[in-house]
Symmetry: C2
Subunit: 503 residues, 2 copies
């Protein structure tokens, strides 16, 4: 049949693009883990070339022609068949990619690399002015990027859509407003209590023992070391080179037990998502995760809903205590459990607890929207940050390093769409977990015995194996039978922190 | 000027090819060092894609046209100017590459990958029959490959020329015959003596201490860790991703002190060659080493001429003895020196001492020539190996694993040109060292004080910085003022082993 030959041709072309992109990921991983300093200049060039060649090959008119020719075949198939999904996802990616002129992309990439470099110097120097002209250009380029996708309601919409397909400024705003009205009273109520004591986490915990325990935990959760590994980096991340090679990185603080462990569980959550893809999707556009939000829902589900739950530690705390017998001597489980769930108004998003975390995200989203609208200028951003932070957190950041300069996102990418996925992920983590419990009420009691196979299996079956087949809204509908709702997440927070702080 | 624009265009195109090839090297390094097992299938595909895309981009007619257009410019320049050399070397590479049809290359690569896989199973199983049909096809493909370069004197000539540009079967044969007539009496004379005692090397040497000493030595020789690193692999190798990132790998045997140390020095010799390239050649076809033989001359110079010399150990032996005080207690320097230079008729090329090593190479070269000529069949190869080995070494290999199956070269590449570089390297190591001594007679006394900067500096100046600018014959002429000769090498062996064995 004619379409079979064309489909095979399309698959061959896309497999090549996929290989080039995965090769770039290997080079990126090496850059962050083992590359000697002297390798940096050439590595930047090599990464730029791989991304350029992959992009050229992807936006080739041959691919557009094949997609056109295969449309009748796609339309003849059930929506969620592998072939129809392959073609639908590719068509979406192709239409997006071909709207961005290669010359713009090249200019943008050079600018982003330069800005990132400046930021690495500006942040430790607390010198926003150093990076400000670049950030102004980033804002300008972000607007240009959005304008390649005309017909939007809000200029941020195309940028939000890149990361969280199906969402736009108005829908994220509405969801965040609802969430905020629920969160603020919880934060206030907790703030009126005496703060939790986390001194038990802040003793000397030798690196090697932390690493051993941290690897053991993620292995038992379901992270497959035959198809992955853990290395140390400055900032932890997950990266994937194929379904058979999904790596995580971690970092350790010998004076804080929470760092390596929860970083491992978080990144392993991302990794189990990609390791759990249907093997039939290997090397195709269907492999991976479907959106920033759904990806984050998996890191958060494992890190917070599971990894910071009392049931989880009923199993692991005795093991941890045996491992660190001196440091945890006389520290009861409940004290440890309160310590790992300490709520406090911290300056830094990535250090924030699961309650206040979302306020950090909302602040950033609002600034992104205002910057793109033109109602806030880059020049006024540091001051606006200080004011908003004080009003949301009751704390004034002492400098820009721990204020507007703290996150890499705007300095290494676009302004717009960079942050909402984190909170969408929190919301979905509770939503998906609730569905897993409906199907398998035995999950909490299994967890207390250190058994995670039922939960992991449900996630593989209902989320991981689909990869990019369904969009985030489709997936939510498929899994829960309804549209995205914050209710289970609010319920989760109220129950957990209600107990912890006797609210 | 018009040629400037064209030259800039050529450089842009070739930089891209260079980046893709270096990216493939990163993936290969990762495959050998850290890749989890599950990554293997996708990695094979990714490497194949990178090599295919790089090749397609290199043999593009645009490059041929630019080379044609730039010929008058090249001819207007001094032969060894950077620009003329860039164009000359590129032209040579381009003419070679465009003579090989892409379809042949694709078929060959698939066959080579499959044969390599079979060999990894056949060698431990001592099962030559398992890989024989593939090896017959390899021979056929090797002949086809040679036939893309008609006009040769011997069918092996194009294959030898790939690795050691400027050499051919007749010139290698003549050189080897001369060398053989000198070597055989030395081997005989040594064999008539009682064998050296190397039991001092065969005690328990803990890995961590070996690694520390091995890293210290190569650092002091001149290997730059800011532009390199050492990792463990099954088979040690050197690989380069840019002049700023030249890595080596090593392996350790806790029951044999010689393994890690000399492997490090050997690979660091290769690496110092590439680290020593003129930085102006970064990312261009002039970076790298000019031939298999010259590359090997540097690994051998540092490993054998320096690293197995008495002067070297006058400095390092007290340090080694302090590091391994128990194992080396009461072992005098001379006993250690004899141990690391023990001559014996071993079955395995890579374990062979520097005297008998060349006999292993000669045996392989002769078989390559006979196989290509058709005077020996693959079927008869194991038997021929046994006979020749017995006649050369007085030992019959007990099996094929340690006979015809021992080296990866034929099973992962072509038959022809795979081995002569090792012996050419030995010959050139002594030749270049002799020149360095002429220029700097203080080198041996510096070595006794652990100082290597004069030797390293002379090698950078006279060999390393040139990269691929001069062919091996040109380089030999430039450095020594004459054509390649075995005299310094024979003199070196006679002096060293004459003393060691009181010949």
């Amino acid at each position: 049949m004619k379409h079979e030959k064309k489909f095979a041709e399309l698959k061959t072309l896309l497999a090549e693009v996929n290989d080039l992109n995965n090769a770039a990921s290997v080079l990126g991983w090496d850059q962050a883990t083992y590359m000697p300093n002297g390798g940096a200049p050439a590595r930047g060039r090599q990464l730029a070339t791989l991304s350029k060649v992959a992009q050229e090959k992807f936006i080739d008119k041959k691919i557009g022609k094949l997609l056109d020719d295969l449309l009748p075949y796609e339309e003849s198939l059930p929506y969620d068949s592998d072939d129809a999904s392959y073609l639908r996802v590719t068509r979406h990616d192709y239409e997006r990619a071909t709207k961005i002129p290669p010359a713009f992309l090249a200019e943008y990439n050079v600018h982003a690399a330069e800005t990132y470099q400046l930021w690495t110097e500006a942040r430790p120097a607390n010198d926003f002015a150093r990076v400000r002209p670049n950030l102004e250009r980033t804002l300008d380029l972000s607007r240009q990027l959005a304008d390649f996708f005309p017909g939007y309601e809000h200029i941020a919409d195309p940028l939000i859509d890149f990361a969280d397909y199906g969402m736009k400024a108005s829908s994220v705003r509405a969801l965040f407003a609802e969430l905020r009205s629920e969160l603020v009273p919880i934060v206030k109520a907790i703030a009126s209590q005496s703060p939790a004591d986390d001194s038990c986490l802040r003793k000397h915990y030798p690196e090697a023992q932390q690493a051993e325990f941290g690897a053991r935990v993620v292995k038992e959760l379901g992270y497959d070391f035959n198809r992955g590994r853990i290395d140390k980096t400055h900032h932890p991340f997950m990266t994937s080179f194929s379904i058979g090679d999904v790596r995580i990185t971690t970092r350790v603080k010998e004076d804080f037990l929470g760092e390596l462990l929860f970083s491992n569980v978080h990144e392993a959550g991302h990794a189990m998502y990609e390791q759990g893809n249907d093997p039939a999707h290997e090397g195709t556009p269907l492999a991976g995760g479907t959106s920033a939000g759904v990806h984050e829902s998996q890191s958060r589900l494992w890190e917070n809903v599971v990894g910071r739950s009392r049931g989880f530690w009923e199993h692991y705390y005795p093991i941890l205590q045996a491992q660190f017998s001196e440091q945890l001597k006389g520290v009861p489980l409940d004290e440890f459990y309160r310590a790992i769930n300490k709520v406090e108004k911290s300056l830094i998003r990535t250090d924030a607890d699961e309650v206040t975390y979302n306020l950090h995200v909302m602040l950033r989203l609002d600034f992104e929207l205002q910057l793109l609208e033109g109602t806030l200028s880059i020049r006024d951003l540091p001051e606006a940050w200080h004011e908003r932070f004080e009003s949301d957190f009751g704390v004034v950041p002492p400098n820009d390093s721990d204020g507007v300069l703290q996150d890499v996102h705007w300095y290494g990418g676009v302004i717009g769409g960079a942050f909402q996925g984190y909170t969408l992920g929190n919301v979905m983590s509770a939503l998906f977990y609730e569905e897993a419990l409906k199907a398998h009420p035995e999950i909490p009691s299994e967890m207390k015995q250190g058994k995670f196979a039922t939960l992991h299996g449900w996630l593989v079956q209902n989320i991981y194996r689909h990869g990019r087949k369904y969009t985030a809204p489709e997936l939510v509908k498929k899994v829960t039978g309804a549209d995205l709702t914050i209710k289970p997440y609010i319920q989760y927070l109220k129950t957990k922190y209600g107990e912890l702080y006797s609210l």
